[in-house]
Every structure is written in structure tokens, then in C-alpha cells.
Symmetry: C2
Subunit: 334 residues, 2 copies
């Protein structure tokens, strides 16, 4: 295995650690409000962490343009905080919509503070994200991220209208995950390059990398939901099945399924009539078609695409770190 | 009664009718999405109308700078559509939070499509509003409206934390309505002047007018909720009482109340233990202190302030129309 095939996010977090510390300071400072419930609730979610993928991608975009000189680029830091705020706003609203009570292994904000607070603090974080973007004084960046935000919600609405429909075409699923995940990865990476004065080719390359990475990331996430041996995801396996969320493995199995199997999908994930043993049966059907493996294969193709997009980058350290991050996305599976 | 004391919004809508037609076209065009549920739901709400106060104020801001030449100012039209989208996004989220099933006399979107759809389409309208603002290519305007948006949510969260607390200080109530209503009126009027290249004094005057008008508007709205004879408001009288929403009349009556009365407020609006005859009793207590009249008086002071802010405007037709609109705010009461 060559060094460039390390599957880890660590090289990227280490390369950008100094800036990420400053981004975290911006995040904490800009959650503040005269209304105490806002920082309390926001802090519960944001301090819980996650990998901060989107701020990392934004900083990586700046680094792609200016190399190590990008360190200390305050505009890129503001923008990184903004994309993290947008992401967390959508998480707050998702948890309301899904009526989730666990996220990243902790009680969700809506479980603790109620749906009202989660809706409103999500709105606050979204508005605050735009305030941060305004401070970069770069209207093109605002254009990228406002349009990404609209597409995120389109993806989520589409996902909602697909719920309980195992006969949905694969193209619909891909449209959903493009919106709900990949677009913000892409916009984060591209806007980091833009705000640092990058050339169009670099901005486009970062966009392409982020988009492909986001697709791979979400496909893997969805596939792992049918792996009962995966406990480290911070969500329960089988959640999507119970919620009627239609993802790639189910669509693959539906396409190839017998009449009996389709009737099973229709009753269970379709109509939400889930009986004992149904999840195990679902996993068995998926396995009989290697549907999870095929989904992971498709995720790997997106990773390959992401890595190809990096060719244009001149900084060896950054390229290698972004490669490792891309391999990491699919390495979670094995 | 002099002509300038007409209490009506008609002079303003007539003065700006040509532009408002174009704003409505922008609104319809920009609700569109590949995901059909989005325009369906948005159209249900937005087509239901309302007075379009915020777009009118935005166009008035442009008119204050450029007079009749402002007509056809596409940037002001984009911005007017944007503020209407922000407003409707907050309405969608409010209806989810309040679990309302009626708005403007029609079924609410959440009653028809569910909470999930209302949350997400609210997010979509908010994101789309920022896309429209980006098209004005005026970052100062984005600053005004992103900061207004953050303050709107702060006002709403504050309102939520005040719920069921009749002992709340008046200052808290004023902070709530500043955020939830007045700030967007102010930002709409000021940003319309800004995007048209207005001088600072004109921008400030429009901001002051919008802010005062918004305060008057919300105080009257809240006071009328205790007037059983008002049917035309599109919401049911007594809603705030049942919801535990603490507004000016209740705070005034609490301040002056006897121990028994305070115990009544505490049980009913405070703890939500509403018994038959409680609303009539609440109205009787408010009347014994002339609390509704006093609230309306305070609203009138804001109207006076709004009108004073207009002194700087040179266009007689606009000044007179904005005066009439201000008087209209409090004339709804008699």
C-alpha cells in the first residue's frame, strides 16, 4: 500500500489544525446571543463535534489556492464557521422532522428543548451563517452558499416525498443525496478556494472533489445502516428501514427483486408495517443480491472521481491529505 | 380631517401598484423548483396574500430615493420578493411551532402537508431569499437582511421562553416584538433605500419609520386578540390567551393586578389550566384597567414616531401615502 493510499482523515486535520482551532473559536464566539437558550442549545449540538468535514473542506479550498500562506486567512475561517452553521441548522431541522432522540450518541436538542426551540435555533444558525458570509465581503461566495442552501432543502423535500416508495428510480435517490449532502461539501470546498482568490480551475476542482466525496460519504452512510455489525456510527442500524427512507441498497434489491420480495418491501419499508424479524429479513434479501457491496462499489467510484479532481493541485501535502480523506470515506466499511 | 390623516393602506398600494405587480411576478417565478411540493406549498401560503406590507415598504424605500424613477428598479423588486420570502418562511415555521391550523382564514400548510414539509419549505424560501439578494449585487443589503433574520429568530426564541410567564417585564415584550415584527419592517424599508443608492439620512429615516410602524402593528395585533368583536383578523380572538403568549395588555394588567387576579393569570395563561369562562374573565380584568386602550395608546405613540421620521422625505405623494399607512395600523381598532 503506497503512502497515498492511507485511509484516514488525520493528515487533513493535522495539516489544517492551526486554522481549525481558530475556526472553532469563531464558532463559539458567534453562537452567542442575548437570548441564553440559543447558545445553550447550539453549543449542545456543535460542541458534540462530529468531524467538522465541511469547515475542513473550506479551509482545504483556501489552502489549495495559497498553500501554507492560507493559514491565518480570516475570511476562510469565517466562511468555515458559516458552513458548519449551515450544516448544524439542517441537523437541528432534520431531528425535528425525523423525531430523532439520538444524534452522535447524545440526546438530540429537540428531545431536550423541544421542537420549537430546535426549529428556531436552526433558523438562527442559518441567519448567523449569512452574517458571517457577509463579513467576507465576497458576494460570489454568498451566491454559492445561498444556492447550495436552496438545493439542500430541495434534496430534503425530495427525500420526504420518496419516503415509503421502494419503487423509486435510482436517479431520484442520487438527486436526494446530491442535495442533502454533496452540494454543501462541494460549496464548502469551492467557496474556500474562491474567497482566497483562486483561479476558476482550482475552484472547479475543489467543487468536483467535494461533490464526489459527499456522494461517496452519503452512499456509505446509507449502506452501513443495513450492517448490524456497525455500532460506531452514532445512529442505530435499521433506522432508515423503520423510517421508510429509501436508499441505494433497497433500490438495487427492488430492481432485481421477485414479486414476493417486492411485496415484502412494500409492506415493511413502504407501508411501515414492520413485524418482528423484518429487519433481519431485509438484510438477508440485500445480501442475496450483494446490494450493500454494490452500493459500496459505487461509492468507491465516486472516491476515484474525487481523487482525479485533485490532479490540478500543486501542493503535494494537501493533495495527499485530501486523497487519504477520500479513501477514509469508504474505508469505514471494512 | 385633513387628507394626510386618511387611515388607509390604499394610497401606498396605488402609488406602488406597477412595481408590486412586477414583484408578484418575481415571487411566483422564484417559488419554482424541480421538486413539485415546494411551489405547491409555497403557493398555498403566498398566494393567500396578506397585505404584502414588507415588499411595499421595500419599494417605498426605493421610491424615497428615486421618486417615480424608482419604478422599474429591478433590484428593488428582487429585494421586495426576498423580504416577502423571509416573512413567509417565518410564518411557515411559526405555524409548526404554534401547531396552528388556520392562517389568513385558510388551513395552514402544516395542517395540509405536515410539519416536515413546512419546516423544509420554510428553509427553502429563506435560502431563496438570499439567492435573490445576491442578485442585487449589494453586500450592504445582504448585511442588513441577514442580521435582521438573526434578530427575528432571537425575538421568537425569547417569546418562547416568556410563554406562560405573566410576570414578565414590559421590556422583554418590547424586545420580542422588535425582533419578531419590527426589525423586518425596518430592514425592508431601509434596504429598499440602500439598494437604490440612497443617502444615509434617507436610509435611516426609512429604517426608523419601518421600525416604529412594526412596533405599532404588533402591539395592535396583540391587543385585538382580546377583543371578541374583531372577526376580520384571520386568527381567532383568545388564541394568545390559550397559547400562554404574554403580550402587552396582560403585562399591564399584571403590573396593576390584585393578588387574586395574579393568581388567576398564573393559573390560566401561566399554567395553561383554562376553564370555561376564563377568557371572558380575562377580558373583564383587562377592561377594568383599560389595558387594551392603554396598549392602543402606546401603539399610537409609535405611529407618531413613524410619521415624524418621514419629515426628511421630499416626495409629497410618498410621504402622504406612508402617513396614511401608519394611521391605518391603529385605525384597525375602532
Amino acid at each position: 500500500m503506497s503512502a497515498s493510499h492511507t485511509a484516514s482523515i488525520t493528515p487533513l486535520t493535522e495539516l489544517l489544525s492551526q486554522d481549525m482551532r481558530l475556526v472553532n473559536e469563531v464558532i463559539i464566539a458567534r453562537m452567542s446571543s442575548d437570548v441564553p437558550m440559543i447558545p445553550q442549545l447550539a453549543n449542545h449540538l456543535i460542541a458534540a463535534g462530529g468531524k467538522r468535514m465541511r469547515p475542513l473542506l473550506c479551509l482545504a479550498g483556501a489552502y489549495a489556492v495559497r498553500g501554507a500562506d492560507a493559514s491565518g486567512d480570516h475570511k476562510a475561517q469565517l466562511l468555515s464557521a458559516a458552513v458548519e452553521f449551515i450544516h448544524n441548522a439542517t441537523l437541528l431541522h432534520d431531528d425535528v422532522i425525523d423525531e430523532s432522540d439520538k444524534r452522535r450518541g447524545r440526546d438530540t436538542a429537540n428531545a431536550l428543548w423541544g421542537n420549537e426551540a430546535s426549529v428556531l435555533v436552526g433558523d438562527f444558525l442559518f441567519a448567523r451563517a449569512f452574517e458571517l458570509m457577509v463579513e467576507t465581503d465576497d458576494i460570489a461566495v454568498l451566491g454559492m452558499l445561498s444556492s447550495a442552501s436552496a438545493r439542500i432543502t430541495e434534496g430534503e423535500v425530495k427525500q420526504m416525498t420518496m419516503a415509503g416508495k421502494p419503487e423509486s428510480p435510482m436517479a431520484d435517490y442520487l438527486q436526494v443525496i446530491t442535495g442533502k449532502t454533496a452540494i454543501l461539501f462541494a460549496a464548502a470546498a469551492a467557496s474556500g478556494a474562491k474567497v482566497s482568490g483562486g483561479a476558476k480551475e482550482v475552484i472547479d476542482a475543489m467543487h468536483h472533489y467535494g461533490l464526489s466525496l459527499g456522494m461517496a460519504f452519503q452512499i456509505v452512510d446509507d449502506a452501513l445502516d443495513y450492517r448490524s455489525d456497525v455500532a460506531a456510527m452514532g445512529k442505530n442500524s435499521g433506522d432508515d428501514f423503520v423510517d421508510g427512507k429509501i436508499t441505494m441498497p433497497v433500490i438495487l434489491a427492488w430492481e432485481k427483486g421477485t414479486e414476493d420480495e417486492r411485496a415484502f418491501w412494500q409492506r415493511s419499508i413502504g407501508e411501515g408495517d414492520i413485524q418482528e424479524g423484518d429487519f433481519a429479513k431485509a438484510v438477508a434479501i440485500l445480501d442475496s443480491y450483494s446490494a450493500i457491496d454494490e452500493a459500496l462499489q459505487r461509492a468507491k467510484s465516486y472516491v476515484d472521481e474525487a481523487i482525479k479532481a485533485l490532479d490540478i493541485l500543486s501542493d503535494e501535502a494537501l493533495r495527499s491529505a485530501l486523497q487519504s480523506a477520500a479513501y477514509y470515506t469508504v474505508a469505514r466499511t471494512s
